[in-house]
Amino acid sequence: MDGYHFYFAPIWAALPDIYEATGVAALVAVTSMALALAIGTMAALAAEYGGHRVKVLVAVYVEAMRNSPSLVKMYFIFLGLPSLGLFPSPFWSGVIALALHNGGYVTEIVRGGLAAVNRTEVQAAASLGFGWLDTQRSIVLPQALRYALPSLTNVGVEIIKDTSFTSALAVKELFYLMTALVSSTLRSFEILIVFAGIYFAMTTLFAVAMKLVELRTPWR
């Protein structure tokens, strides 16, 4: 019974492993976030400016992502693609699954952000001779993404938390290490506190950092 006697020694011993696992989790998170943002933004632009068929395609994509858990996509990629001759690594299976899954949410969020940009600024750019790509890059997207930032931050937090799913694919990240340590040391309570604390620190730091970015935009 470790009610009174907290025994953290095995955790100190495992510190280098914890370091590494945190790094892996962070890498998975950051890579997935970047990919999800890229996928979602492109899909949102496609839905805004593409024809009817493109809009339908994007809608199908979004619905296919929103209505199933990210674990399903992970298993699909890791266990399913080999039947087609593709053998993605556990890391990339997890990252691509998270990127595709959350890309669906990002698409909807960025569309909301695009809608919030004044159409008149687009006309002003056109009257100055801007082409479509330049208009998007310099005028529309900077504002759209800034408007979308709070919601995007939420998606980022979810991604950080969902990195724990990749343990199912044997990616050596935090949750994987957590279960391994518990089975080897049986110090479930202490381990729970430490690892929950690490996750909590990661999500909170990320949210605070994003909030700072939000607040520091000088143009409101």
């Binding site: 019974m1 209505n67 858990p69 699909f76 949410y105 909301g112 938390k161 909590f200």
Partner: protein, 226 residues
């Protein structure tokens, strides 16, 4: 893909798995709603101390992965001698998670109702509880509905987490069959489609109720859906 016929005998097993999934989802949503309502009302009512405690708990629940929370119920409680079956532990963990997230939704909904409504009820002679139940909560409900529906969808998807703990819900059963038949592509495709078929009506319902809310001129509290 030609061997898809060999999967037919698996269907009853998968359906049983879906049953467990829906059971867990239903329990966590149902109890989560009740507890969430209670907690949310508590928050709106009580003093700073209780509110700070609740705020802390919610922040932790939202900042820590669901897997870790399920882990807590599965491995930490037994250390104190409390032992439940796998399914029950899963239900407890998911319900706790749902309760706190729903508490936030309820809190937001209650705070969105103008304070004047509550005061008007009081001035008519309603008790605190009466004012809450007759005037505030019904109005809060309407603006909460989209968020609640979104949360329900989220819980259905969240049940997949407990597959990592050996609970025989849909995803676990599917994985078992993949290990047996090695038809990962076909089975996972079925799983994907099945989840989509289950959740899509709910997400559509959520979007519809959100649109209806905007028409009625009330602020929709649902975010882009999590």
């Amino acid at each position: 893909m030609q061997r898809i016929g060999s999967l037919v005998p698996l269907l009853p097993l998968l359906v049983k798995g879906i049953g467990v999934t829906l059971l867990l989802a239903g329990l966590s949503i149902g109890f989560g709603f009740v507890f969430g309502l209670l907690l949310g009302s508590l928050y709106a009512w009580c003093g700073r101390l209780v509110r700070s405690l609740l705020f802390l708990l919610v922040t932790i629940v939202r900042g820590v992965p669901v897997v870790v929370q399920v882990f807590a119920v599965f491995f930490v409680l037994p250390a104190y001698g409390i032992k439940f079956s796998a399914v029950t532990s899963a239900a407890i963990a998911l319900t706790l998670f749902a309760s706190f997230t729903i508490m936030e939704i309820v809190r937001g909904g209650i705070e969105a109702v103008p304070r004047a409504q509550f005061q008007a009820a009081l001035s008519l002679g309603f008790s605190n509880i009466g004012a809450m139940t007759t005037v505030v909560l019904p109005q809060a409900m309407r603006s909460m509905t989209p968020s609640l529906v979104n949360q329900a969808v989220f819980m259905v998807k969240a049940t997949s987490v407990v597959s990592l703990f050996g609970v025989t819900e849909f995803l676990y059963v599917a994985k078992e069959q993949i290990e047996r038949t090695l038809m990962g592509f076909e089975i996972m495709a079925i799983v994907w489609v099945a989840y989509t078929l289950i959740c899509y009506p709910l997400t559509a319902l959520g979007r519809w109720s959100e649109a209806r809310l905007k028409v009625r001129g009330q602020t929709a509290l649902a975010s882009a859906g999590l």
